[in-house]
Subunit: 457 residues, 2 copies
């Protein structure tokens, strides 16, 4: 079957493809906030309907949380499973958005046309690149070059509580020859890449409780230990003066980077100054003997993602609060065990508590890091197909984020996963003013058409 005709069809149909994406982006499917439960359901329904238009046997599959969407299209060639997620991050602080996050639009910018809105890049826009590639193949040839399955999740931004149970229960249905995951980006916004290393994640919340009520700081200040001070001490003690994380045993299962991988990464010519300069910084924090790229891809981290306690409104309130809390996450690499990290963290936090204090750990869930095997010839086929579409040849890279699904495909289904995505560093994912370049969307669709062609060869 002719790839060129498919690519031409993709070019012609881009306005319609974009319009379809905007419709999906208008659904505020914020998975972490129960207020948007209905919207997550609506997004799943929208996807089922769209897959059915492609001729897929598609259905919404209920879970204790948000539903999964699964669809299958028979075809010759290898069986390819595609994964994406239809849920999005919360949008606060809302006042920092230039346009409403769920009123997406095509905008002209000095750097070209972009699709604006929450989820445009992470991950609805990326998810739709694959769907649109299939649509073009189907439109041109009446069939697809591979047997295709679609697997869309609605809880990726909220810890994927239903994912593993669902995959275990439906393992036979979800098995394939190779899995494709579109939730990553172009390296340095220009080099197409296949991610072969992913960090794991432990997401913790701690709520530190001291006095049994809010107190007047004029009456009890100094005498009653302040929970915000206790929390600050805990956070401060998590790193030493050199940026290393202090939990006992934290680095035990962290491998040193192999020389050949370090050499390959150095060959990428990563612009560390630009990486920091893009966000208004000039000096890297963290372990002082590591390069930023090494830190992001191959080193574990600990970050505080949120903190609260006492009075944070206008003016001043001389309160000594009864409690204070924080959300703290660890990125894991190598063989670091999420359960062991959680235990070390809990032990550490409890050791920091003064007399009379208690602490709660409402979360404490995690996933291990993943390492792909690139011996499967599909990896090299895909890398060449990507290289044909983009000005720069494609590379195998690491990823600082945590996409546990890749590990689940391997562990539960025995299937290798290729992580290929077209996001750019300035897409503002998880931030106000998220966008997806129209070029990413367009060339993303074309990339998948080429990859399907290559995998079927």
């Amino acid at each position: 079957m002719s790839l060129d005709a498919v690519l031409a069809k993709i070019d012609d149909d881009l306005p319609n493809a974009t319009e379809r994406l905007l419709n999906l982006l208008r659904i505020p499917s914020v998975s972490t906030d129960p207020a948007f439960k209905r919207d997550c359901d609506d997004a799943a329904d929208w996807l089922v309907a769209d897959l059915k238009m492609l001729g897929a046997d598609a259905s919404k599959r209920l879970t204790p949380g948000h539903p999964m969407v699964v669809g299958h299209i028979d075809g010759d060639g290898p069986h390819v499973m595609f994964y994406g997620h239809y849920d999005v991050q919360p949008v606060d602080p809302l006042d920092l958005w230039d346009t409403p996050p769920f009123e997406p639009a095509i905008e002209d910018t000095p750097a070209g046309k972009v699709i604006s809105g929450r989820g445009s890049s992470d991950d609805k826009g990326q998810l739709m690149t694959f769907v649109e590639a299939c649509r073009a193949w189907k439109d041109v040839h009446g069939s697809l070059p591979c047997k295709i399955s679609f697997f869309f999740e609605g809880e990726e931004e909220s810890g994927s509580p239903s994912l593993v149970p669902f995959m275990v229960k439906n393992a036979e249905e979800l098995k394939s020859d190779i899995a494709l995951i579109c939730d990553t980006g172009l390296f340095e916004s220009k080099v197409p890449s296949i991610v072969t290393m992913l960090r794991g994640l432990v997401a913790e919340e701690i709520i530190v409780k001291g006095p049994d009520r809010d107190l007047h700081s004029g009456m009890y200040g100094g005498v009653a230990m302040n929970p915000i001070r206790v929390l600050s001490n805990i956070i401060t003690g998590l790193h030493d003066g050199t940026g290393r994380i202090t939990l006992p045993g934290f680095y035990d299962a962290v491998p040193e980077l192999a020389d050949e991988i370090r050499a390959q990464w150095q060959g990428l010519g990563f612009d560390h100054a630009k990486f920091l300069g893009d966000v208004g910084l000039s000096v890297p924090a963290g372990e002082q003997d590591r390069t930023p790229l090494e830190m992001i891809w191959s080193r574990p981290t600990c970050d505080v993602n949120g903190i609260w306690g006492g009075y944070a409104g206008d003016g001043f309130k001389t309160v000594l609060p009864a409690e204070a809390g924080a959300k703290i996450s660890f990125r894991l690499v190598g063989q670091q065990d999420p359960d062991a990290i959680h235990e070390a963290f809990e032990t550490y936090v409890r050791s920091c508590l003064p007399e009379d204090y208690t602490v709660e750990f409402p979360l404490g869930k995690g996933s291990k890091a993943s390492q792909m095997s690139i011996k499967d010839p599909a990896f090299e086929k895909a890398r060449k197909a990507l290289s044909d579409e983009w000005p720069n040849p494609a590379a195998y890279v690491g990823c600082g984020g945590s996409i546990p699904i890749a590990g689940h495909f391997k562990d539960i289904l025995g299937v290798d996963a290729m992580l290929i995505g077209f996001g750019k560093d300035d897409d503002q994912i998880h931030s106000p003013n998220e966008k997806y370049d129209l070029e990413s969307f367009h060339k993303g669709i074309r990339s998948w058409a080429r990859i399907l062609d290559a995998l079927s060869a």
Copy 2:
């Protein structure tokens, strides 16, 4: 004129006095939050109308902030100025209130009847004790035993920005022989007291800013310094391991407690264990070589009154925030200079900032500590009058809170102030479920009637 008839009138009229207080409590005059500006104005109008019913020449006096209420009633005897504040603290967290904060009620409790609602104790209920005492005198005798002025503020809970300019501008009108301030409590909830030492207050806010936008912690975590970590380091470093505040020069102007005052305070038999036990604590924090009473009345403190940054909602968001902030207050004693403390704090905070970081100080205002002169015979007259009303003789005590008005009466008007109040330790001022014992209200009114009688003698 007969005091007994006035006390009898107070007893008879208590239900009506209580009803008047409930009406005032229904006005949500939260001064720190601009959303309640209109309500503060309403509370001022309510008080003007009530003072006029007493025959006072009363008026609402506009300021750049919330209005003052000033009223005068001519009479024989010394000129007595009474100060109280009609504004109240914010009510959050609202879900911890058993009944709505602005729907006050008389409630039966195992410990007796209480008046519930925000401001019932701090300070509307206390303010009205004096007004009701005057009303009873007027009703019984047609006149008052002293020349009386009323001075009610609406910004006490938000730093009193208009107070000093107003007092300076209206100094002639506000001068009197003695000032009475009702914004304090019974010592250990049972000993009537006149406060002769008040701590000062420096209220700071810091907003620490690093990256120029919120970042994905998977992409920038570890490499970009986290503002919540920076803020935690700042807070942690404000105290050393023994509970002392580390700002250079902080203790320079802090006097050691005189032996005779320490002895007098020890004679009060303060129950330190109960003081802590009342709020669910057993071990005092702070300087380990000081007793809690000494710490509260005579030692400076530093507390964090609020903190915020990143994502604090349901679920988890792997954000590395662009900024984080905290509200931090210092209680001052002796000759500690608020401006010098602010400067030392700002210098310290700036010294904690990593490269690329900035900090803002939107507040940084303060007041010195106050020390009353008890040589004025009015003090001893009032102490005896209080002793006649209550089961325990009245005492001269210190106060951990900061009521800068007392210092202003002395500095601006040259008038000594007596701080006399009837709050109890469990009144939950500044907390959910604020209340004022009906006994405090009733005996508070009777106390002022006795004090007016004593001062006129």
